[in-house]
Symmetry: C2
Subunit: 121 residues, 2 copies
């Protein structure tokens, strides 16, 4: 049986659009998703789940209604369930998201930036 | 409210022992754990869960009874539940594990290399 490592940067090179997370792996009921992001996302929350962000390249600010956290490459943060947040990247940034399968990028907010939650690369 | 990014390498610098995963974050029922590894671990399996390995530094081979996969830095692999495996690192290697809280490093095998499953750094 051939087993193939999942190379994060090789996978990321296949992503052409911003703010469209692509699934690269599944562990139990969770998906690992890569996303290229730049600019301001929408304010949203995920009422049923926490959401883990690991920055691989660039810098990501996650705004909250009462503050913010900025992640550089190699930094992780877990947004608790139900907490409104807005990711913002002043430069293009590559992130790895870990969250339950089916989690929608815009959470409860919806809108134009909503991406399919089942797209693999 | 102050929110602090979790810097993987700064956390890893606090780990002195090999093969002793330390928890750095929780997402829902999963833990993110860092481990420094070198040499050969024990053959084991986790009958109730998959286990995700992300190599941050160095190179890790995961042996299976019918083959192996080698991960370099920036590569991810998910070992399916119930599959016997043995991690081997010829040079010291830093890995990020993502698995359910309470998962024991030696799985069903036990033995001297069994580490506490609830140690945070």
């Amino acid at each position: 049986m051939e087993r193939i490592p999942i190379n994060l940067l090789e996978k990321a090179a296949q992503i052409k659009e911003l703010w469209t997370p692509k699934i690269i792996a599944r562990m139990n009921d969770d998906h690992f998703k890569l996303a290229r992001v730049k600019g301001e996302f929408v304010w949203h929350s995920h009422n049923d789940t926490d959401e883990a962000f690991l920055v691989l390249q660039g810098k990501l600010t996650i705004q909250f209604r009462d503050g913010a956290v900025t992640l550089e490459a190699g930094e992780l943060y877990v947004v608790p369930r139900g907490v409104e947040h807005r990711p913002v990247a002043h430069q293009e940034c590559l992130i790895l998201l870990i969250e339950p399968a089916g989690t929608v990028n815009t959470g409860e907010a919806g809108g134009d930036l909503t991406a399919p939650a089942d797209a693999w690369i």
